[in-house]
């Protein structure tokens, strides 16, 4: 998994393949006299051509096509594409509140499934000192079973609205192809309540029983920041360092650039540098809008981990995800309890030439889409900025800061610490790629 050479002055740690991270990636870290000389997170995933082969497609096909960019967060791609295309078609402000509520419910399902998978199957083994969830399950079987139950519920919520959990097909520009029957909705409620109670307990367990490595940085946190709810689908985009822009103006404050060692673009805030999207950014910017069931846990979590908000240590993304999972479960319960079959499941959308940009909060952070459409509704141009590519620069900066703490560690332990840090971001590497350059030089 790793190799290194060491000398009195220079030490190189290479992790040839990152385990437990979606897609493929590798790390190259060179240290000289105890200081980091070179830090590169290399992405060597086969390039994706989605932005290119969306061109010429009918706008109605886009949600289903973009859902296949990422196997983990298809809902995020569908929501981003729908909202952006609704802006292009001029119907964004006509979406009925019941449809918006169902979109939030769909997102709750994805957050629950994705966060639970990451917390308990991928990240928790790091904190408890296990190689994988398999070895962890030998000692923590009940916890893993609880996680599987929660994950299954998340999938059930996605299936309720999306038709199926795998690549949901129920989403359309304008809303949903159909709305679920009230009986189907009610059937899920007992399980949602039971899982909510379990997740509250698990959240306190994660806060009280884990040791979180100390690595604080002065991040620029970026997230949606609506006025009246915890962010999922709507809201302007805000930064902890001062900007707050409408969705369409996101490209005025950020830009993407290519780096030679990666097929994923790196995003920066213009005039500043790298920034962070994801659960920690959302929580730091929006904690006051958490559902009450999550809000009442927050002070207990802060006390247990010994840090008040804002949290500037991305190892605390794990309790942030846990709080968001509680929020999603509680919000899902509210939506399910008040559900009535809406008068219509979608608004009519007529094709026209237009342009629209919109981002929603994928589990890993803002996933931003922009589409330009032709008069016949075909896609003239598409641009998709996934969360993982926005975090690339910040991950490398984290590794640069961590590097100084690795001097006294053997190479294998140092490699594992680097991997652990990268997993804080739950990077979804397989969807963070634009085709510019393909690099296979990792050994």
């Amino acid at each position: 998994m790793s190799d290194s050479n060491s000398s009195l002055e220079a030490r190189t740690i290479r992790v040839a393949a990152l385990a437990r991270v979606e897609g493929e990636g590798a790390l190259h870290l060179t240290m000289h006299n105890g200081q980091p000389q070179d830090v590169r997170l290399e992405i060597y995933e086969p390039p994706r051509f989605y932005e290119a082969f969306l061109r010429g497609r009918d706008f109605r096909e886009v949600p289903d096509i973009t859902a296949r960019i990422c196997g983990i967060c298809p809902v995020a791609y569908q929501m981003g594409s729908c909202h952006a295309l609704e802006k292009a078609m001029g119907v964004f402000h006509q979406i009925d509140p019941p449809i918006r509520a169902l979109r939030n419910l769909l997102y709750c399902g994805e957050w629950i499934e994705s966060h639970v998978l990451h917390i308990f199957m991928l990240h928790l083994p790091d904190f408890l000192g296990y190689e994988s969830v398999i070895s962890m399950a030998a000692d923590h079987g009940p916890t893993v079973r609880q996680a599987l139950r929660l994950k299954k519920l998340g999938n059930a919520l996605v299936c309720l609205l999306g038709g199926r959990a795998v690549h949901p097909v129920g989403v359309c520009v304008g809303g949903f192809y159909s709305a679920p029957a009230e009986a189907a909705v009610r059937e899920l409620l007992p399980e949602v309540h039971a899982c909510l109670d379990e997740m509250c307990e698990l959240t306190l367990f994660l806060a009280e029983k884990l040791d979180y490595p100390d690595l604080e940085r002065d991040y620029e946190f970026v997230a949606l920041q609506p006025d009246d709810e915890y962010p999922m689908n709507l809201g302007p985009i805000a930064s902890s360092k001062g900007f707050r822009v409408d969705q369409e103006d996101f490209l005025e404050v950020m830009e993407e650039r290519q780096v030679p060692h990666s097929t994923a673009l790196h995003a920066i805030i213009k005039g500043r540098g790298s920034y962070m999207v994801g659960p920690l950014s959302r929580l730091n910017l929006n904690w006051m809008r958490l559902h009450p069931r999550a809000a009442e846990l927050l002070p207990k979590v802060c006390q247990a981990i010994g840090h008040e908000l804002p949290w500037r240590n991305n190892f605390l993304s794990l309790p942030a995800r846990a709080l968001e999972t509680v929020h999603a479960l509680a919000l899902a319960a509210d939506i399910l309890e008040s559900y009535r079959v809406p008068a219509r499941s979608s608004v009519p959308v007529e094709p026209r030439a237009g342009i629209g940009g919109h981002g929603t909060e994928a589990p890993r952070g803002i996933c931003w889409h922009q589409y330009r459409t032709n008069a016949d509704g075909t896609i003239a141009q598409a641009r998709i900025i996934p969360p993982t590519s926005q975090n690339q620069g910040t991950i490398e900066a984290d590794l640069r800061d961590l590097a100084a703490q690795l001097n006294d560690l053997d190479d294998e332990t140092a490699s594992l610490r680097c991997e652990h840090l990268i997993r804080n971001y739950d990077p979804c590497i397989s969807c963070s790629v634009h085709f510019l350059k393909f690099d296979r030089q990792w050994v």
């Binding site: 299954k152 959990a165 795998v166």
Partner: protein, 164 residues
């Protein structure tokens, strides 16, 4: 809640991923046959698409598991239909665990986790087709498409054998 059928046929692959669409195509063929002919009374068909980590959700209560996927064998002619017991050391690597997205909880890890949690079916079997490429946006090759119906037929035979 209804009773769980003892056999699960779990098909993996990206329907938009060239030859990696083999699994979803076999799932569709099985469902089409069940609609027009005889349903698989003792089996459920799950199209896991490019999310093989959903397998664990479907395992509780299963006695037998048949996995259907595309196999990566660089020296093999594309379009060969292979059949293995899952734990056979000669089992080929699968696309769902190599090129395209898995969440590292691929099929191997999930089945190992299932064993740890006493969820592993008594029989775990693999039907795989060798492929040339899994390029997004392309149609499957004719060699791979030619194996969809034979794979579906073999799946039905296995279900009947396991149901006795």
């Amino acid at each position: 809640m209804g009773s769980i059928r003892p056999v699960l046929i779990a098909c993996c692959g990206n329907a938009d991923g060239g030859d990696d669409a083999f699994g979803p195509r076999v799932a569709a063929a099985l469902r089409d046959h069940a609609r027009c002919c005889q349903a698989l009374a003792d089996a459920d068909v799950a199209d896991l698409g490019s999310r093989p980590w959903e397998l664990l959700d479907h395992l509780p209560g299963r006695r037998c598991l048949l996995l259907v996927d595309a196999a990566v064998l660089p020296d093999a002619r594309p379009g060969r239909l292979l059949e293995f017991e899952w734990f056979d050391p000669a089992r080929p690597p699968l696309v769902s665990e190599t090129l395209l997205s898995t969440h590292a909880l691929g099929l191997t890890q999930q089945l190992a986790l299932a064993a740890m949690l006493d969820l592993l079916p008594d029989a775990v079997h693999l039907l795989a087709v060798t492929i040339r490429s899994a390029t997004p946006g392309r149609e499957p090759s004719s060699a791979v498409l030619a194996q969809v119906q034979p794979a579906a037929q073999r799946a039905r035979e296995l279900v009947r054998a396991w149901s006795r």
